[in-house]
Amino acid sequence: MENTIRIQVQDREGQLHDIDGPTDMGMNMMELCRSAELPVEGTCGGMAMCASCHMYVDSDHALPPKSDDEEDMLDEAFFVEDNSRLGCQIHLSNDLDGLKVKLAPVGN
C-alpha cells in the first residue's frame, strides 16, 4: 500500500505485533502504538515530556538523532539503553518500513 509501512512492536510480555502505519498522517510511534491499543500511555501527549513511550529500537534504521529535549527526558526514565528512544519523537516516514521496536518496561 502506498504511504503505509509495516512496523514490528514487541510488547512487554514479549509478544510481537505487526502494525501497518500510515506515513501521511503526521503520526509518531507513540501514537501508532496507542492506535493499535498497545499499552503505551503517552501521558504528555507527545511533547517529549514524560518518557511513558520509552522504547528500544532493535533494527538498524537510520533515525534522526535525539534532540536535547528527548535526551533530557530519557534522564528521567529508567532501564535506558543505548538504543532507547521516545516513541513520540519517531515520526513515521517511508524509510522506516520494517522498523522493529520493543516497549521498555514501565517504572514505578
Binding site: 504528555c44 534522564d75 528521567e76
Partner: protein, 335 residues
C-alpha cells in the same frame, strides 16, 4: 473543617473553570491539589508550551491559560488546599462528603467534582529492588529540609535542575559528602548550575559520577551503602547515609482508585448526561473521566464542567428551578 458547595479535586484548567461556572449559579468551590501550585499539568509540565485549540485563542501559553482561568475564577473566591493529596472520603450523617488529605486537612461538601487529570504527580521511583524498605530510612525522593542532611553522606541521582541545585546546596557546607550520579555526561540543568557542579567537582566538594546509575541499595534497617554501576568500569559500592533519586514527577491515579468508583484504564466512568459517576454526588470531569467518544482536550473539559455544575445545583437545591442566564445580560456577580 473547610465547608464548601463543590469540592474540586484537582486545580488544573478544568477544575479552575468549574469555579467560574459554579459561581454563576452562586455555588462556592474549594480546590484540593497535590501540587504546590494551581494549573495542573499546564503549570507543572508545560507552562511555556503554546496551546492552539482553545476557542478564540489562536495560541496561548499553557501558563498564561492558567493565569487567565485564575483571573476568571477570582470573583468567586475559590479556596485552595495545595500541596496536599486528597486521600479519603466518607459521608457524614447529613449526607455530606468529608474529604481528608494526606496531611489531615478536612473538607466538607455535598458535591465532589474530581477534575484530577492524569492523577496526582508523584516522584518517579527508580526500579531498584528493595527500595521501598529504605524509604524514610535513608531514601528520600524529595528534599524538604536541607538541614536534615547536615554532616551526612548523601548520594543524589539525576541530571536536571533539582539534582544539580541540591547537590550544589548540600556541597556548600551542609552535608559531609556529596556524590552526584548521572546517566550520561551531559546535564540538562541551567548552564550556570552545571558549571557550578563542575567547579565543585574539580575542587573535590562533589564527587561526580557520570555514565553511572545506582542499581542496588544495601543496609539493615537504615541505608548503609549504594551500588553504582559505571558504564565502562563496572560496579562500585559507596557508603552513604542517604540516597536521593531526583527523576522528576509522574502522574498516578492515587487514592481515587479506592473510592468505589467505576474505573477503567485509569479513568473514572461517567454518564455524559451530567458527568456523574456511579457514586451519587461525585462527578468526574476532564482528562480523568471516560465515556464513549471521550477526547482528552481542555476544551472538552470546560464543556463537561459547565454541564456538571447544573446537575450539582439540582442535587443541592432539588426544589429550586434553574434558568440559564447569560453573562452578557447579567454580567459576573462575584461573592
Amino acid at each position: 473543617m473547610i465547608q464548601t458547595d463543590i469540592l474540586i479535586i484537582g486545580a488544573g484548567p478544568c477544575g479552575l473553570f468549574t469555579v467560574f461556572e459554579a459561581g454563576l449559579l452562586k455555588l462556592r468551590c474549594h480546590l484540593v491539589d497535590a501540587l504546590p501550585q494551581a494549573g495542573g499539568q499546564c503549570s507543572e509540565i508545560y507552562p511555556k508550551k503554546p496551546i492552539y485549540d482553545i476557542p478564540a485563542y489562536p495560541s496561548i501559553l499553557a501558563g498564561d491559560l492558567v493565569d487567565q482561568l485564575m483571573e476568571q475564577a477570582a470573583p468567586f473566591e475559590p479556596g485552595f488546599t495545595l500541596g496536599e493529596r486528597a486521600e479519603e472520603i466518607e459521608k457524614d450523617e447529613e449526607g455530606q462528603f468529608i474529604l481528608t488529605t494526606n496531611r489531615g486537612t478536612k473538607h466538607r461538601a455535598p458535591i465532589i467534582a474530581i477534575a484530577g487529570g492524569l492523577g496526582c504527580f508523584e516522584p518517579r521511583k527508580p526500579p531498584v529492588e528493595g527500595l521501598a524498605n529504605f524509604e524514610d530510612h535513608g531514601v528520600e525522593y524529595i528534599i524538604k529540609d536541607p538541614e536534615f542532611y547536615r554532616d551526612k553522606k548523601v548520594v543524589i541521582s539525576g541530571g536536571g535542575d533539582s539534582a544539580l541545585d541540591w547537590a550544589i546546596f548540600l556541597a556548600e557546607g551542609v552535608a559531609k559528602e556529596v556524590t552526584l550520579v548521572h546517566r550520561r555526561t551531559e546535564f540538562r540543568g541551567h548552564l550556570d548550575s552545571v558549571q557550578k557542579v563542575m567547579d565543585h567537582a574539580s575542587e573535590g566538594r562533589i564527587r561526580l559520577m557520570t555514565n553511572a546509575e545506582v542499581v542496588e541499595v544495601q543496609g539493615e534497617a537504615d541505608l548503609q551503602s549504594v551500588v553504582i554501576k559505571k558504564k565502562e568500569e563496572g560496579m562500585h559500592t559507596l557508603e552513604t547515609d542517604h540516597w536521593v533519586p531526583l527523576f522528576g514527577l509522574s502522574p498516578k491515579l492515587g487514592p481515587i482508585a479506592d473510592w468505589n468508583l467505576n474505573i477503567t484504564k485509569n479513568a473514572v466512568e461517567v454518564d455524559t448526561f451530567d458527568y456523574s459517576t456511579n457514586v451519587p454526588g461525585i462527578y468526574a470531569i476532564g482528562d480523568i473521566n471516560s465515556y464513549p467518544g471521550k477526547l482528552k482536550l481542555i476544551l472538552c473539559g470546560f464543556h463537561e464542567a459547565t454541564l456538571m455544575v447544573q446537575s450539582a445545583f439540582k442535587r443541592i437545591y432539588p426544589d429550586k428551578n434553574l434558568v440559564l442566564k447569560y453573562t452578557t445580560v447579567n454580567g459576573v456577580n462575584g461573592f
